[in-house]
């Protein structure tokens, strides 16, 4: 026998089930808590996507029942648009079936392996079929299916099919029994996943019933539906050679020129011409017969030709306001800032980064900051260390933003950092879609977003700090210092010393003092000013008197006000600078001691000690 024939005997088609078994972990089915989490995730993602497409505010109900430690029945129910009867078996019981695989838009599930993988896992570990109910309209019947996946041809096998009574107006319900376990109290759990999902989907109400019948409701924070992402044609920069070949082979266009214009975004007549020219292929050529080396040249020409960046209205950011609402509803915090970056592009795929930072409240003070990672509104719970989001957080010098960062890794403090990356194509590091790859454009955008919110956090913290310092100073000057002065005077049996100059010093103020000395028949008056502050201050000083002043130095401006005269000096003091204004009054010092208070305008009240501040 020919060797090739010998080998051919051994080569048999690998069944889909075998493939699944061998690749369980990369699909997110490894440990038994994670199998449950992945299944919940696939079902909830589907429900959210379906509701959004239909413009319905999602109301999702998740119930977990547990017969034993490693057995869980998962029920997920939504109020979505439902699925037409004919589609139900394929949606749930045929792997890689789904409309999304071929479209270019932002969606939660990217490859349609999702829910059928959970069905397969359930059937492999419990031997039981998936039970599906779906209803598309108030007056339509509710269809009930029991489905298995026939793994050899990858086709659904219908075990049962009937019409039942269902109290929902419309929606879909799936029930899966599987080997899995429900755990709480750690980051990678169904509870945390739903909580994070609720944060980035504030328009959804999510109800969880735990195996012990405990009910948790993540209430919606807004009635505003997220903007429906638009579907777009692929951008030439994001196309791989193989895909291009496939597209050429199956196109309905007759010419290369029209193929280019109708299959890609951002290719118009001019660009199509340019691409054809650069690749040296006749624009009128039938795209189905383009040879391999020509495809390569065409692919090359995509890079060389000047093509506009892809449109970005295919993205649906959560928006700054809703990230804020989402974080606020699940946490008690003192401060929150969010940002949505302008859309950007990585290898032809539009993407957009959003970030939020929440601070204070009842968040743990001494622990590492919690990082919430999201890709297309889906929480990422595993493989944090491999993720571009984590790397971007580590790249930032948080000390510059008033957060500790021991060992240069994650910052420490009472804060939550949230990062959402939305894209028509999220570059994950693996099929389980838990970590975003380190694409330089994405990392840079994440860093910019984080720096933006971090800057605002720093501002907030420094303002808090100033307030605190101000309060402390006030305590010193109002409560403590007067007592020290009084006590010191008592001990020495001398008059209580004047604390005002010291107060000005502590407050960093401008200290103004009028000293009057009898000299002959009149008085010499000296107004002393000293700037104890850190800035240069300019203001007007008014000495409003009913007396004439003489030999003033420097000479003030004199403005008559009725019987009185307002003597006005314009003052400018650098930090640490002191000045003296002198003049003479022809009155007795007894009278002079009754002079009205000095008045200042054009400066904040808290910057002056020793004069009254009047700002009109």
């Amino acid at each position: 026998m020919v060797i090739a024939e010998e080998l051919a005997k051994k080569q048999k088609a690998i069944s889909i089930a075998e493939f699944f078994e061998k690749n369980r972990q990369i699909l997110g089915f490894d440990s038994s808590p994670r199998c449950l989490l992945t299944s919940v995730k696939e079902a909830v993602d589907n429900s959210l996507d379906a509701c959004e497409e239909a413009g319905i505010l999602p109301d999702i109900f998740i119930k977990l029942e547990s017969k034993s430690r490693d057995n869980v029945t998962l029920i997920v129910e939504d109020n979505g648009p439902g699925i037409v009867k004919e589609q139900i078996p394929r949606v749930f019981a045929k792997l890689l079936y789904g409309s999304r695989f071929h479209s270019v838009k932002q969606s939660r599930g990217q490859q349609g392996i999702g829910i059928s993988a959970a069905v397969l896992y359930s059937q492999l570990t419990s031997g039981r079929p998936a039970k599906i109910v779906s209803k598309i309209d108030r007056d339509a019947p509710a269809h009930y299916f029991e489905l298995l996946i026939n793994t050899q041809p990858n086709e659904p096998e219908i075990i049962g099919d009937k019409i039942i009574e269902w109290d929902r107006l419309r929606g879909t319900r799936i029930e899966l029994e599987m080997a899995a376990s429900y755990i709480k109290g750690r980051r990678q759990s169904v509870y945390e996943y739903l909580k994070d999902t609720a944060i980035v989907n504030p328009h959804a109400r999510i109800t969880l019933i735990e195996p012990d019948n405990n009910q948790i409701i993540f209430e919606r924070a807004t009635d505003k539906m997220p903007v429906e992402p638009k579907e777009i044609l692929p951008h030439p920069h994001g196309i791989e050679l193989g895909t291009l070949m496939k597209m050429l082979r199956y196109t309905e266009s007759d010419t290369l020129d029209s193929f280019l214009r109708s299959s890609f975004s951002r290719i118009g007549t001019q660009t199509a011409k340019d691409i054809c020219k650069k690749s040296g292929i006749n624009p009128g050529k039938d795209p189905k017969i383009v040879a391999l080396d020509e495809v390569k040249r065409l692919h090359e020409a995509f890079r060389k030709a000047k093509i506009q960046a892809p449109p970005t209205d295919c993205l649906s950011p959560i928006t700054e306001e809703l990230i804020r609402k989402g974080l606020e509803k699940e946490h008690t915090i003192d401060f929150i800032e969010t940002t949505t970056r302008p859309a950007a592009v990585h290898s032809g795929h539009p993407f957009q980064v959003e970030a939020g930072i929440a601070f204070g409240g009842n968040l743990a003070r001494e622990e590492k900051v919690e990082i919430l990672r999201f890709a297309n509104r889906v929480p990422l719970l595993y493989q944090q260390g491999a993720c571009a989001i984590a790397h971007a957080v580590e790249n930032i010098k948080w000390k510059n933003y008033s957060l500790d960062q021991p060992g240069g890794s994650f910052p420490v403090g009472p804060a939550i950092i949230l990062v959402h990356v939305a894209s028509t194509h999220i570059p994950f590091t693996s099929e389980s879609k838990e970590a975003i790859a380190d694409v330089p454009e994405i990392v840079e955008e994440i860093e910019l977003a984080l720096k933006d919110v971090a800057r605002r956090l720093k501002l907030y913290l420094s303002r808090q700090d100033n307030l605190q310092r101000r309060r402390e100073k006030e305590e010193i000057i109002q409560k403590i210092l007067p007592r020290i002065a009084k006590k010191v005077g008592e001990i020495l049996e001398r008059p209580t010393p004047d604390i005002t100059p010291v107060v000005a010093k502590i407050m960093g103020n401008v200290y103004i003092q009028r000293v009057v000395q009898q000299n002959g028949k009149g008085c010499d008056v000296e107004i002393r000013l000293k700037n104890h502050g850190e800035g240069t201050y300019s203001f007007n000083l008014h000495e409003t008197l009913e007396y004439q002043i003489e030999s003033a130095s420097p000479e003030p401006k004199k403005i008559p006000i009725g019987k009185q005269t307002d003597h006005l000096w314009k003052i400018k003091l650098k930090p640490g600078e002191q000045k003296a204004l002198i003049y003479r009054l022809n009155i007795e010092s007894v009278e002079a001691s009754k002079l009205p208070q000095l008045v200042v305008d054009g400066i904040d009240e808290e910057l002056i000690t020793g004069a009254k501040v009047v700002n009109v």
């Binding site: 210092l481 010191v488 001990i491 020495l492």
Partner: protein, 367 residues
């Protein structure tokens, strides 16, 4: 007569010194300076050997206490209140308070009151440092008297009821002679002692007395009672200097006991301003050494986390910066164990007095 006028002169000098501090504050207010005091930092980083190179005193590093901060301002206010009490309540009226009473007196001082006694104790120490006086000069007493002393020495103590002369074996009960808080009033008359042994625990002192160690070895036994009081340290120093008696220190074998020895021999970090007055640099550590734990196969306890931290902290304590102490500390960290003085009882009640101490004294050439 002269005694009394001496006291009056001393009190009036103390008053002047305390008033000077308050005058400084007053002048600071008048010269538009934020009130402050400067005093040496009281941390282990800031202790250094004195000029003779035998005891540890505070170094040059200073800390500023200024009314610029709430904490500093509060301390200055409390300082003013305490000084007022010392001048008007103590020195003017010839009265005194204990450290604990002083803490309670502050209850009436509104925001200047102390939150715990440690705070007021510390402020009194600060005042000692600032004024160069001792708390006795302010008429402030410790709560308890010193510990006890037992051995072949005859002393004379001036008490409120006149002079008392007693022999510290023949004229005292089994508990020994009680060391008063002010040991300056004691005169040493005559003695047959060859050395002094300072003992950490009362149990061990009793054991030595019961076994007749003082008679057999002509030793004066001084009970340290944990971290020794000032008067205990002072009397040890006086006996060492005035009677030229060598001193050995016998404690448990654990990190805290190493510190007890250090405060007897080199001075305590907390009261380094008094080291030259109270530390006995000639005092030698007899045990329990880390090496004894190994050699005598003593029954032990495991070091806990605090013990380990304490040992590690001692490795950076300048007082322990000798080859001997580094070896002892590192050995204890290595074996991870500590032992009490009483652990010798495991080998019989006489073992400590018949075997261990004679062997160690022999090695050290004492007695």
């Amino acid at each position: 007569m002269t005694e009394k006028s001496n006291k009056e002169i001393r009190d009036s000098q103390s008053k002047t010194t305390l008033k000077k501090l308050i005058q400084d504050f007053y002048e600071q207010f008048e010269s538009e300076t934020i009130p402050h005091i400067v005093l040496p930092s009281r941390t282990k980083k800031n202790i250094e050997l004195n000029e003779n190179g035998d005891v540890w005193v505070y170094g040059d590093s200073e800390s500023l206490r200024s009314a610029k901060t709430v904490k500093g301002a509060n301390q200055l206010l409390k300082t003013s209140h305490v000084v007022e009490l010392l001048i008007k309540g103590h020195l003017d009226q010839n009265k005194s308070s204990t450290l604990r009473e002083l803490y309670y007196i502050s209850e009436n001082w509104d925001i200047a009151k102390f939150h715990e006694q440690a705070e007021s104790d510390r402020l009194i120490e600060d005042l000692e440092i600032i004024t160069g006086l001792q708390r006795e000069d302010f008429h402030v007493r410790p709560e308890e008297n010193g510990a006890t002393l037992y051995g072949p020495i005859k002393i004379k103590e001036i008490t409120k009821r006149g002079e008392r002369t007693m022999h510290c074996q023949d004229d005292v009960g089994e508990a020994g002679y009680q060391i008063p808080y002010n040991v300056e009033t004691i005169k040493f008359m005559e003695h047959d002692a060859k050395f002094i042994i300072a003992i950490e625990t009362g149990g061990m002192q009793d054991r030595l007395i019961e076994n007749g160690f003082d008679e057999k070895f002509d030793a004066i036994l001084v009970h340290l009672k944990g971290q020794p009081a000032r008067s205990t340290r002072r009397i040890i120093k006086r006996m060492n200097e005035e009677l030229k008696l060598p001193v050995v220190v016998f404690t448990d074998g654990d990190p805290w006991s190493f510190r007890i020895y250090a405060s007897v021999a080199y001075g305590a970090i907390k009261s380094a301003h008094l080291s030259e007055f109270m530390a006995t640099p000639a005092a030698k550590f007899i045990g329990v050494q880390s090496s004894d734990i190994v050699e005598y196969e003593l029954s032990t306890d495991k070091l806990n986390d605090q013990d380990i931290k304490a040992l590690e902290s001692e490795l950076t304590d300048p007082r322990f910066e000798t080859d001997y102490w580094k070896d002892q500390i590192n050995l204890m960290l290595k074996i991870g164990k500590k032992a009490e003085q009483q652990a010798f009882a495991g080998k019989g009640l006489d073992y400590v007095t018949d075997v261990y101490l004679p062997e160690r004294l022999g090695e050290m050439g004492v007695g």
